[in-house]
Point group: C2
Chain length 468, copies 2
């Protein structure tokens, strides 16, 4: 193996990219990838490779990789599996640095595919070419427009942010996620596919040192080298949170994994405790893996685990408190000054959770725009409050951005919101506008509280690692 | 106490309704409720009550309840708490049958409020008037247009369906839920509020015998009489599923509950095991409580627990299998005939989960409309398959209704769908259209599988109760 960071740097920031595969227009293939590179603004050299074309999209097409007149940083291969060894030979001759094998039909398929994968891996290893995949949609790096998905992406912008997502699934890629509509800020995305070479340790090493990345989310069906991964997690966690989703808990799903990425998960349950001790944060679903990092990406870390909550109903408050308590948060004991401020707005508000419900009838329309931010600010000012879970009243809708524009960044407290609503058609726009401001909004109060609990857990872990 | 069913029948199907409270136009109050009754098509008599008006919305206004020239079936009271005893006196004189006290400021507020609640309850009990609340938004019955919410509802239709929802929270009401946009089919909604009289036992008794209701969902912070409730659950479960969400698991949330509905939850953990034995289905969140009943309401019950799954990615399949296995479902062993049919479409499809991912590139556009329904039908035809969790390819979008229109109802198998999508703005419309057809769609594959697992659990429970 080569040294990780440089090769992974090349994977995400190549000066030149070759795309080997079908150049027919459509929803999948080399044409799609080439067009993505142009559309997302990739500024390096692009070499489409196909024997049947002279040029596409204003770019010269080369019949083979080895006819490209310079060594290519990154070759993306999306031919049939059978052609991959030949193309790998061309890459060796070309002195290619990194290759992404998008093609499927390898270890995940059958014994022949497994043989093919071993063959291709050996060729690359011998030549010092690092490999991502096979059976992957590759990577995305919004900061330089490198987006390798062979599936058509329905939007032409991915916002540069600080969330890195790595996994053994194309589910995490822009062809499948509403990154644009939700204004989700990505630093790097990497689909490992069958993971014949580049793996979670390479990525953790790279992302740990990547200034654009503030939080790292891993979907890991199988861990190549548990001990080394745990050590790497321990190294990175003091710098930034590492969140891990581990499917494959059941025998049935381990069988499904074998036909997905071809990897028979060893019994790495032995590493689970170690991973936790090393400071990895655990989530239970892909929705959590993708959602919770938004708190780390756009909110300050909490100084402690004392939670204040604003709800629109007592029932939602009770459920939120349940979730908080079961995840290590304490309901903040509001200071007398805060209770006075709340009571000044309405006597029924003086508590934690602050339940807007009983006060809403008296403060409809215009007045809500005044008293809601006053409540939020009273809680943010309270020295007994570390983090704040906020129900945003639907009655305020589009005025919520106005409310939060002046509040965000003013206090070093961690906030997570939700927008309870009798409408589903427009809520995503409100949530997107809050996300743009830096206030992450979640599906409901329970989820917002869980996200805050994870931020608190990270602070606790990081502090215990420092003390150790 | 009166006999439950008759009084609860009157609560949901009154021939006359009086609305006592402010008649000022706005977002809350008697004007709003009166307008709702008219807008939602309530055909009974409506008597607005307020000393300061002669008429509103074409209706004569009465200065007091006792000046209404006939006994009123249902009086909805939304004045200040202090006025409620006087209005209750009027109700007694009027020979009112049931009253909903929307007003807050009772046991949930303070000692004085608790005294007021005892006073009002005693008056009603003596006169044989049944009470819902106080501190409630009341009930909804879409089949006759009885919608009592004092908060403005942003839509004018609630679809008649077979899901009954009861809870100690206004969160379950149409003022807070996107019932219209999601085409959610309700039979009855009831917010218990402080639950000074009408409670979960009354509702379970009534809904168990209500022909319009096929599934009953309960949010219960506190259970008045655990033993009686457990017995009633055991009585109803053979007829229809009873789903229960129990917040208040933690000491912190029990405190929050006290200031929500004023009820100190006794330690009813003793009833938890009994509830399960009686056959109640348990959920962990409001989202599940509201979402899972859709499977019971519009899909046949599964004959067994053998699951087939269609995914768009191997990773999603693995996660779905994990959830299935951990909730008592088995991955169906597809019959040779089914495997042949799948392989005939594409060799990479022959398995369970059926992963569309590898086959998608070859079947873009038009072909997908043919081969996707063929896959679904092959699985539905398989005698080894009892239920089906379906990823609906985003590529088909609006054509999904065409696909499922001919498949739904054709096979006695239980289906639940999800629509993985790179867009959030239009997905709700696709999901709504599927719901109209009778195919419930969930946020993701995990949730669809959990919903199916609950349907299987119900069948298992019902059968074991029959055997006992």
């Amino acid at each position: 193996m080569q040294s990780g960071p440089n090769a992974i740097g090349t994977l995400f920031e190549p000066d030149s990219v070759a795309v080997v595969g079908s150049l027919r227009e459509g929803g999948f293939g080399g044409y799609v990838t080439t067009k993505h590179l142009l559309d997302f603004g990739y500024k390096g050299k692009i070499f489409p490779v196909n024997p049947h074309y002279d040029s596409i999209l204003g770019l010269k097409v080369y019949p083979t990789v080895n006819e490209i007149p310079e060594g290519v940083d990154l070759v993306i291969i999306m031919t049939g599996a059978g052609a991959v060894p030949r193309i790998m030979e061309e890459c060796v001759e070309n002195r290619t640095r990194v290759a992404i094998i998008v093609s499927d039909g390898f270890t995940e398929r059958d014994v022949e595919g497994a043989g093919l994968q071993r063959q291709v891996s050996a060729m690359a290893r011998t030549a010092g070419i690092r490999l991502l995949g096979p059976n992957t949609v590759g990577v995305a790096n919004p900061s330089n427009g490198l987006v390798t998905s062979p599936y058509r992406i329905i939007y032409e912008r991915i916002f540069s942010g600080s969330i890195a997502i790595c996994g053994q699934t194309g589910l995490i890629g822009p062809q499948n996620l509403a990154l644009e509509e939700t204004h989700y800020g990505v630093s790097k995305i990497c689909d490992f596919g069958n993971k014949c070479d580049i793996d979670e340790i390479d990525l953790l090493q790279y992302l740990g040192g990547d200034d654009q990345t503030s939080v790292i989310a891993f979907h890991l069906e199988q861990i190549n080298n548990g001990r080394a991964f745990v050590e790497k997690v321990r190294e990175v966690v003091p710098k930034k949170p590492v969140i891990v989703l581990r499917p494959g808990r059941t025998e049935a799903s381990r069988q499904a994994m074998a036909s997905h990425t071809g990897s028979l998960a060893g019994d790495d349950s032995v590493y689970q405790g170690a991973l936790r001790q090393a400071g990895a944060l655990r989530v239970d679903s892909l929705a959590e893996l993708l959602g919770f990092p938004r708190v780390f990406a756009c909110q300050p870390l909490p100084a402690g685990n004392r939670l204040a909550m604003i709800t629109i109903s007592g029932g939602a408050g009770v459920m939120g408190v349940d979730v908080a308590a079961s995840r290590g948060l304490f309901m903040a004991k509001l200071s007398p000054s805060t209770l006075n401020k709340l009571a000044g707005i309405s006597p029924v508000l003086a508590g934690n959770p602050v339940d807007l419900g009983p006060a809403l009838p008296a403060y409809r329309g215009g007045a809500l725009v005044t008293y809601y931010p006053a409540i939020v600010e009273a809680l943010l000012e309270d020295p007994n409050v570390d983090c704040l879970a906020l129900a945003c009243p639907w009655a305020l809708r589009k005025r919520l951005t106005e409310v939060f524009a002046s509040l965000l960044g003013k206090y070093p407290k961690t906030m997570a919101a939700w927008v309870p609503s009798p409408s589903v058609s427009g809520v995503w726009e409100i949530e997107r506008d809050l996300e743009i401001l830096g206030l992450p909004a979640f599906a409901d109060g329970d989820t917002a509280v869980k996200a805050l609990a994870m931020a608190c857990e990270y602070v606790r872990i990081r502090s215990s690692l420092k003390d150790a």
